[in-house]
């Protein structure tokens, strides 16, 4: 299960909107010039990498979670399934007949295992779709794997796991994982087995607060963390620097808040392609060199 032969770099960072996807996409594009790279977008609630790469999501496969299918001919109405369900997805009627409320089912399969007469079969529920896209930028090839959660679905981790698995199943030299914001177990799951976590922050009190949270998470997960200071110029970063040193996390890049970056956002072209000599591009190039030295 723990495949240490795979080289995985994750881009994360507590606060939404700091530029995780921006960094992940540009890193992947730059590294794809010399290596086989798979970029995995695990921000399944609101994936954006495909947009930053100006591509559409076509085709794709359904991603499932297990849902119980009750065979009433075998059901002895003991009510165990409704009692064991931790999500409240099975409710038993007065007569003891179990009824499923599909949206609440988290796919844990406890009901399946507890049923004394094996009256519960495994059916599947579609929770989202996983898309695999081949991106071609100038002469660089990059594979993008995107998970998209169905609107109305509550549980996120199953799709993150399935999307990550799909991405890692593609043969490559390096995997770049783009996580969602926050530090919940969804992010922890996305960060599992990565070699380096690149935490993106911004020099604002909000960035500082969320940087602390992501550093705490990576410390618990025992994963080496680098920091990218994005949007330099927005404010003071002295506290961030202190925090970084407290957690032994190197700050590997300082990217200025610039029109060039905004421009690349609006145009939908990665800055390392649109403007390879921009300050941001140079800083990102430094990160790739570090990755080459220390990960690959």
């Amino acid at each position: 299960m723990v495949m240490k032969s795979k080289r995985i770099v994750a881009v994360s960072g507590g606060k939404g909107g700091t530029g995780k996807s921006f960094i992940a996409v540009n890193l992947a594009v730059l590294l794809a010039k010399s290596y086989r790279v798979v970029l995995i977008d695990l921000d399944v609630e609101a994936p954006n990498d495909y947009i930053l790469l100006n591509t559409e999501l076509d085709g794709g496969v359904d991603a499932y979670t297990m849902i119980p299918y009750i065979d009433y001919s075998k059901c002895i109405k003991c009510g165990e399934c409704s009692r064991v369900c931790g999500s409240g997805a099975i409710i038993a009627s007065r007569e003891g007949l179990p009824y499923l409320l599909p949206r609440l089912c988290s796919g844990c399969r406890a009901c399946y295992f507890i049923c004394p007469t094996k009256a519960i079969k495994e059916a599947r529920r579609v929770i989202g779709r996983i898309y695999t896209s081949s991106i071609r930028l100038n002469s660089t090839n990059l594979t993008l794997v995107t998970g998209v959660l169905n609107e109305g679905e509550e549980h996120v981790p199953p799709l993150v796991i399935a999307t990550k698995e799909r991405g890692l199943s593609i043969d490559a030299d390096l995997y770049v994982v783009d996580t969602s914001a926050g530090t919940s177990n969804t992010v922890a799951s996305a960060l599992l087995n990565t070699d380096i976590v690149i935490a993106v922050t911004e020099p604002t009190p909000l960035g500082y607060h969320d940087l602390g949270m992501i550093l705490e998470l990576t410390k618990k997960l025992d994963i080496e963390t680098w920091i990218v200071m994005n949007k330099v110029g927005l404010g003071d970063y002295s506290r961030h620097v202190e925090l970084a040193s407290k957690y032994n996390a190197r700050i590997v890049a300082w990217i200025d808040y610039s029109h060039e970056v905004l421009d690349s956002y609006i145009k939908g072209i990665p800055i390392v392609v649109l403007n390879p000599d921009a300050q941001a591009s140079n800083e990102i190039r430094n990160i790739t060199e570090l990755i080459e030295r220390e990960v690959l």
């Binding site: 931790g86 999500s87 409240g88 038993a92 009824y99 409320l101």
Partner: protein, 118 residues
């Protein structure tokens, strides 16, 4: 044959018919169950049960509905019901009335009237 309905009122206190109906269904502390005779308009019985304190991740509303099912409840009364609770109530054919802030004794007539139209 007498038509008797069992009405569960969500409350935070256990003071019988003087209990004030709670604004929340899902994690109400108690449910006061009133057995009401529709023909004579009289109360045949009253008992209280504790709301299920849950440690589960989600579906507190559903667990609460399960408790009502296990107690043969026909109508549930609280100020607000979450979407999961509503789905479960519907599935189990239990009617619901959105009402809170009144004492059970004051609300009874209104509940019967409102539940009839649902």
């Amino acid at each position: 044959m007498a038509r008797v309905v069992r009405i569960a009122f969500a409350t935070e206190e256990d003071r019988g018919l003087d209990s004030i109906i709670s604004s929340r269904f899902g994690r109400a502390r108690y449910f006061i169950i009133v057995e009401y005779d529709l023909d004579t308009g009289s109360i045949k019985g009253i008992n209280s049960i504790e709301g299920p304190g849950t440690l589960m991740r989600g579906g507190a509303g559903v667990k609460t509905v399960q408790t009502l099912v296990n107690n043969n409840v026909d109508i549930a009364v609280a100020g607000a019901f979450g979407p999961n609770a509503l789905a479960a109530l519907e599935r189990m054919n239990i009617r619901h009335v959105e009402l809170s802030g009144l004492k059970i004794s004051e609300a009874l007539d209104r509940v019967i009237r409102l539940a009839d139209f649902k």
